[in-house]
Amino acid sequence: MIWLKRLQRALLMLLVMLPWYALFINLILLDIRRVNEYGYGLLLGLVIQLWLTRLSWQLNTPKKPLSKSFVGMVFAVIVIGSFLVHYLPLILL
């Protein structure tokens, strides 16, 4: 179960960082000439997200019942999924 809880926290951190990614994707599309600078911004977001994820794994052990973890995960998947559906066509182009 520890891996399920870790996955939940990883998703939560992705959810936390989602506005950051959305901001830089917005900026890239609007100001393509600075794609490198904004690309570094995205990369920095990824580093922060991984660091936060690692930190959340090291800190206090999860106390929530598993059912609540599932609800949180489903919520995170819905929000992240909506974001991807919204932006993937733009990114893939």
Binding site: L18, P19, A22, N26, L29, L30, I32, R33, Y87
Partner: protein, 328 residues
């Protein structure tokens, strides 16, 4: 303490969703923002070896249909970003369809450039005129049609344009198509009274090159549209003719090309002028007429522009301008 935490969490949630709302919800506007210059040889490669490869550049702009609220607000503070209401015809068209449509136009323009350059040099080339579906509006009565389908006949008439003209408003035409995979299909498509007698599709001319004494390779990229036609033709003409008209200068420009050498008008002129300025090109060709007037106005707004703005009505005009620079 617990109450405060719950309260804080609620506010955090409201803040989070507000930020995401502004960054993701799209509104019915069109933004045109400055882009970049793209060397023609980065996407058209010929089997011609030359030490002094000519330096011709296409200029592209970013066209964002239905920007997010954030992009809309940010655009108000950025130089040379144009904000327009989204045209009625563009509503309901997906980003993917717009991209495909741009690619059809781009590929057609490349073939038109090859033909024009070859014919201007007196080199042999055999090609066939075709008609492709380049855009489908959401009101079109046949959802199985796809962008890129080739129209073979309309009501049995192989003169596609005549077949379309002869279809009476309020009736359906039998359209015979061939998919890019080579599959033949027949559809009924209505000329709709409620939509100003339109079929709901846009048809573009495409020239299929059948015999060519050289081989060339077109690399895919994300840039769509026909506006680099003139620059592609100049590049091909210079390269195949071994002329070095560019004289190691950065020659950029915009404009579509037609087989008779005429240069057609394009959109996003102001943004292209600004892009050319930022990239410090030496020459910028622009279609004569209204496009040139817009370009001139944008040029005058620039601080210390270093490039020469040249209006051209035909491909020959552009060649003469380059010869004149060569002479001077």
């Amino acid at each position: 303490m617990r109450k405060l935490t719950v309260f804080g969490l609620i506010w955090l949630g409201i803040l989070y969703f507000s930020v995401m709302f502004v960054l993701t919800v799209r509104i019915d506007y069109r933004l045109t923002a400055p882009g970049n210059i793209e060397p023609i040889d980065s996407f058209i490669r010929l089997d011609v070896e030359r030490d002094d490869e000519p330096r011709y550049y296409a200029v592209y702009v970013m066209s964002i249909d239905r920007p997010t609220i954030f992009q809309f607000i940010a655009a108000q503070f950025m130089p040379f970003v144009r904000v327009d209401a989204l045209p009625e015809s563009a509503r309901g068209i997906t980003t993917t369809d717009l991209f495909r449509s741009g690619q059809v136009a781009r590929n057609s323009a490349i073939d038109a450039s090859v033909i024009t350059a070859m014919e201007a040099l007196g080199l042999p080339i055999v090609y066939e005129e075709q008609y492709l579906v380049s855009l489908i509006y959401n009101f079109a009565s046949e959802p199985r049609l796809n962008i890129g389908d080739r129209i073979l006949s309309v009501n049995g008439n192989t003169d596609v344009l005549e077949g379309i003209r002869e279809t009476v408003c309020g009736t359906s035409a039998e359209i015979d198509i061939m998919t890019p995979q080579g599959e033949r299909r027949t559809f009924e498509l209505e000329r709709q009274v409620a939509q100003d007698c339109r079929f709901g599709i846009v048809i573009s001319t495409f020239y299929e090159i059948q015999e060519l004494p050289i081989t060339f390779d077109v690399r895919s990229n994300l840039i769509g549209g026909p506006s680099s036609g003139l620059m592609q033709t100049l590049y091909l003409y210079d390269l195949l003719g071994g002329l070095n008209l560019s004289q190691n200068q950065t020659i950029a420009g915009t404009g579509t090309i037609q087989l008779d050498g005429r240069v057609g008008s394009v959109g996003g002129i102001e943004q292209k002028i600004y892009t050319a300025h930022l990239d410090q090109v030496d020459v910028f060709f622009v279609p004569a007429g209204a496009n040139y007037e817009q370009a001139r106005a944008a040029y005058e707004r620039l601080s210390n522009p270093t490039f020469t703005l040249i209006p051209v009505a035909t491909f020959q005009d552009a060649l003469e301008a380059l010869h004149a620079r060569e002479g001077s």
